[in-house]
């Protein structure tokens, strides 16, 4: 069985699993990190959104063999600095965004990446930018998500 070395939430780990197993299942089923959720498995719902080297990606659609230990993978569990929440997490609490909460780890990770992207591109984090975010929330919390992203962005 191939051995893969990964860096997740600042920790180096080794897993024995076939090359083509998607990273989401390595993270959830083998490493037991359950913040990223399954919602479709085909990179549509975005519930598994995490970061690779600081950018948003969907581990449901990436094979474990396509990342290396030099890639910094961050799930929602690795976003806060210890007990100090990331400003986007705090904004999510301040705006009481979550209902069931199933999609929200992915929403927060997407929001952080979108704000960083806008900053790099010199764009405002406005409604047009937020509407590029494809993450589905079946509870329909979109309007609070918008408010939280704008507030979180202001503190990032």
């Amino acid at each position: 069985m191939p051995e893969h070395r990964l860096t997740i939430n600042g920790q180096q780990v080794t897993v024995d699993v076939d090359d083509d197993v998607r990273l989401l299942w390595v993270i959830r089923d083998i490493l037991g990190i359950t913040g990223p959720k399954y919602g479709c498995g085909i990179n549509v719902c975005k519930a598994c959104t995490s970061h690779i080297n600081g950018r948003a990606f969907n581990p449901c659609s990436v094979r474990v063999c396509d990342v290396s230990e030099d890639d910094e993978i961050t799930t929602i569990e690795g976003l806060a600095d210890g007990d100090e929440l990331h400003p986007m997490q705090q904004a999510w609490i301040d705006h009481d965004v979550a209902q069931c909460g199933y999609c929200q780890p992915g929403q927060i990770m997407a929001a952080v990446a979108k704000v960083r992207q806008c900053a790099e591109e010199g764009r405002d984090v406005d409604d047009a930018a937020i509407e590029e975010i494809r993450n589905i929330c079946r509870c329909g919390t979109y309007n609070r998500i918008r408010a939280a992203i704008k507030a979180g962005a202001a503190n990032m």
Partner: protein
């Protein structure tokens, strides 16, 4: 008490006010309605005494006794139009029926004070995001003078002795549990004060209780934890209690953030598939191409068993189950299976064949023998999916003559009984744990995945963590049934003489326990010995206007679909048809849609929300061609709701490009006003309205399932177009009425949907000049996607995820 507590309405930029007379008129009416509401509020609701029990236990355990309470009365009539006689829900509605079904077991639901000072309550309901754990903590904290974090609310395991008192549905949780929980909490507080008075040797009346600490005049204080044993009762005992006066509330009515918010944003909240139950490895089922097709056999069993990660393969009634080290390996194995399938339950059928059968089952409209113009229209509502973001899932461990189940379940008692029966075990050998769900929208009323998980675990002799794939959940999961709604109105010179609505639907499955609860109590309803579906329809549907002879009837046709109540059940479709017809009648009479509604609405309390919505939305303002406002209202859940939307149907908006998404007309602004009665958590109520509004947009404009050749086509979120960021209204103003004339909490979870559906439909018709005759309006458009294959039933996992990073 101040009439207004902290405001929950969201500030929006007010549109330019060349605002006009209409708004002034509305304002005057709103003021009058508010005055009326306040005077009702002042009415003496009495310091009623309630009965409860001290339960024999080593620490303090208390419960309520509710069998002797009367049903609350109907609102006072105040009709302006041609009065319609009271409709059933005005006197006795679904919430009354559900509460009555639960009264006999209220005493079995107990509040416990623990030795660590926390107060524990195992809520016999299911929280799937609607916030009932938070609101329940608030109710207990209020009555016991605690902080929210001193109250520990968990979801109870299945408790069959609770009979009908462990059902979550019909937006009934707060209405059915509010008084019971308060009574128990108030008794507990009183007992703790008694115990403290004895220990402190002080008069009870001089003690104060705050944050779990009881303090005497001499400054000495005792925490609840040190008092609970002294406060406990050695025998069961009936006691009387008076509840806290509403004017003394300090928690109820204040906006509170969900108590699991931090766990959610840090990824710590655990859903069923996140649980680490020893040996419960990932498991999925390879399902048939047909809806409800069943396996005839698998031709490459040995090959599949030897695939990477696979530990077990078993044939079960609904397909071929595979258990593996990871879900990814389960999916690969299922995709490799060569299975022979038997036909499904609607083999060969499609949307049009089902619709034709529904039309043949439509009940006749009986025109009363009166002179007048007849307006008549028929509307079709296609199948829609209540699939949540968390797919159906359950963990089961069936070994050694017993079973243990973990799943998000709104009717865990029925799940327990059914699983026991199917496994051939006594109910007592089946333990069912209720896990918080990742959305429900009606789907968790059923235990489809829990039963399957139990069957798979039994077949494999091992624990399993069963998860439906997204394609399973979309194609084989429960659906909101297809329906037609015909409306005929007879209109004279200046009034409506009759308004008849005939709703004909693919049968909704109520076989999850909810139906039994309703029918057990609904015999009390006027006229009521109807079947389950007809009873629920009769107990929920109200035409809110004085339209003379007003009737609403349901007929259902059984086909073999997997149906279920989808958020707000019949109401979104009934309201859409009704409100479109109200606009048609108004036009016929030469009246403005809002002015006509406010002149004919039956009661002041209902008019108040309508007027407030018109006022907040600046109803009647000038709108560019291709855009329009729409207004609608809906009555349910012991409350009232009204909605005004603005829609943009101009080509440049409708055709704006979004990759793998549906755009279409954009609802640009929503004003939603709701009176849910007494508000427990205004922030939570606002959240529920927001969700309902976004559901309504999807139901009306973008999302449906297409039945083709015996199966549903849509297999994922890139086929089924639930509302996305690019569809949601940029402006949303939700007003939760905080000085409702009702002193009881009504229902909130589903209340946002129906009025919004009606308003969106009306706005669309006004913007385009065309009244749609089917919903969602895009149902007959060409598929904006390539349908995914039926065999294998799960699409391949992409490998190009790194191409989309940002």
């Amino acid at each position: 008490m101040p009439a207004h507590r902290a405001a929950t309405r969201r500030d929006i930029s007010r549109a330019d006010s060349a605002a006009a007379e209409a708004a002034h008129t509305a304002e005057a009416r709103a003021e009058a309605a508010t005055r009326n509401a306040r005077s009702l509020l002042r009415r003496d609701t009495g310091r009623r005494k309630f009965l409860g029990y001290l339960v024999a236990a080593p620490t303090l355990v208390v419960a309520a006794e509710l069998t002797r309470q009367s049903v609350f009365g109907a609102p006072a009539a105040n009709a302006l139009g041609l009065p319609s006689p009271p409709q059933t829900p005005e006197v006795y509605d679904l919430l009354d029926a559900l509460r009555d079904s639960m009264r006999p077991t209220a005493h079995l639901v107990r509040v416990e004070v623990r030795k660590d000072g926390t107060v524990h309550f195992a809520l016999p309901r299911s929280d799937n995001g609607q916030g009932i754990i938070t609101s329940t903590k608030m109710i207990i904290a209020e009555e016991m003078d605690l902080e929210l974090d001193q109250v520990d609310v968990t979801l109870a395991d299945a408790r069959p002795e609770l009979m009908f008192n462990q059902i979550t549905g019909g937006s009934s949780t707060t209405f059915t549990t509010y008084t019971a929980i308060r009574v128990a909490a108030a008794i507990a507080r009183g007992r703790l004060l008694d115990a403290a008075a004895a220990l402190l040797e002080q008069d009870k009346g001089t003690l104060t209780s705050r944050a779990g600490l009881i303090t005497g005049l001499n400054g000495r204080s005792l925490p609840f934890g040190e008092l609970t044993e002294a406060a406990a009762s050695p025998v069961d005992e009936v006691v009387e209690v008076v509840l806290k006066d509403r004017k003394d509330f300090r928690v109820i009515g204040t906006p509170q953030t969900k108590t699991d918010a931090r766990d959610i944003v840090t990824g710590r909240k655990k859903f069923t598939t996140d649980l680490k139950i020893p040996g419960a490895l990932p498991t999925i089922i390879c399902r048939a191409p047909d809806l409800n097709g069943t396996p005839a056999g698998i031709d490459n069993l040995d090959e599949v068993r030897s695939m990477p990660g696979v530990t077990d393969v078993a044939v079960v009634p609904t397909g071929i189950a595979v258990r593996a080290k990871t879900f990814g390996q389960c999916i690969e194995a299922a995709r490799a299976m060569q299975v022979r399938w038997k036909a499904g339950t609607v083999a060969g059928e499609d949307d049009e064949s089902i619709l034709a059968k529904l039309r043949r089952a439509e009940l006749p409209l009986a025109v009363p023998a009166v002179a007048g113009d007849v307006l008549e229209r028929s509307f079709t509502f296609y199948f829609r999916s209540n699939s949540a973001l968390e797919t159906n899932c359950a963990i089961a461990d069936v070994r050694d003559g017993k079973a243990e189940i973990w799943a998000p379940l709104k009717n865990p008692i029925v799940a327990q009984q059914d699983i026991a029966k199917r496994l051939g075990l006594p109910s007592s050998a089946v333990t069912v744990h209720v896990v918080q769900g990742g959305g429900s929208f009606g789907r968790r009323l059923f235990h489809d995945a829990a039963l399957e998980a139990a069957q798979v675990s039994k077949a494999m002799g091992k624990p399993v963590k069963l998860m439906w794939t997204r394609a399973d959940d979309s194609r084989q999961g429960r659906v909101h049934p297809m329906a037609t709604s015909r409306v005929r109105a007879v209109v004279a010179a200046d009034s409506v003489l009759s308004f008849e609505q005939r709703h004909t639907s693919v049968a909704t499955d109520f076989g999850h326990g909810f139906g039994e609860a309703v029918t057990s109590a609904a015999a009390k309803a006027p006229g009521g010995q109807l079947g389950v579906a007809a009873t629920i329809f009769e107990l929920t549907q109200v035409t809110p206007y004085d339209f003379g002879v007003s009737t609403r009837l349901l007929n259902e046709v059984e086909f073999g679909f997997n149906t279920g109540s989808m958020r707000n059940v019949y109401s979104p479709d009934v309201a859409t048809a009704r409100e479109l017809m109200v606009d048609q009648i108004a036009a016929k009479l030469g009246k403005d849609p809002y002015e006509f509604r406010t002149a004919t609405v039956k009661y002041d309390r209902w008019r108040a929300v309508l007027d407030r919505a018109a006022e907040e939305a600046n109803w009647g303002k000038s709108m560019p061609a291709g855009t329009a406002q729409g207004i609608a209202m809906h009555i349910e859940y012991k409350g009232a709701s009204a909605c005004v939307v603005e829609i943009d149907c101009r080509d440049e908006t409708v055709n704006r490009p979004i990759r793998e998404g549906v755009t279409g007309p954009r609802v640009t602004r929503v004003t939603f006003v709701v009176d849910v009665g007494l508000v427990i958590n205004p922030r939570g109520v606002e959240a529920q309205m927001m969700g309902g509004i976004n559901d309504a947009l999807a139901m009306t404009l973008t999302s449906s399932l297409h039945l083709v050749d015996g199966h549903f086509v849509e297999a994922s979120w890139d086929n089924y177009f639930y509302t996305r960021q690019w569809n949601t209204p940029p402006e949303m103003n939700i007003v939760v009425i905080e000085d409702s004339p009702s002193d009881e909490p009504g229902g909130a979870g589903e209340f946002g949907v129906a009025a919004t559906c009606g308003a969106v439909a009306c706005a669309y018709a006004r913007a385009t000049g065309k009244v749609p005759d089917y919903f969602p309006i895009n149902h007959k458009d060409p598929f904006p996607f390539e349908p995914k294959p039926l065999v294998p039933p799960i699409p391949p996992a992409p490998t190009n995820g790194l191409d989309f990073i940002y």
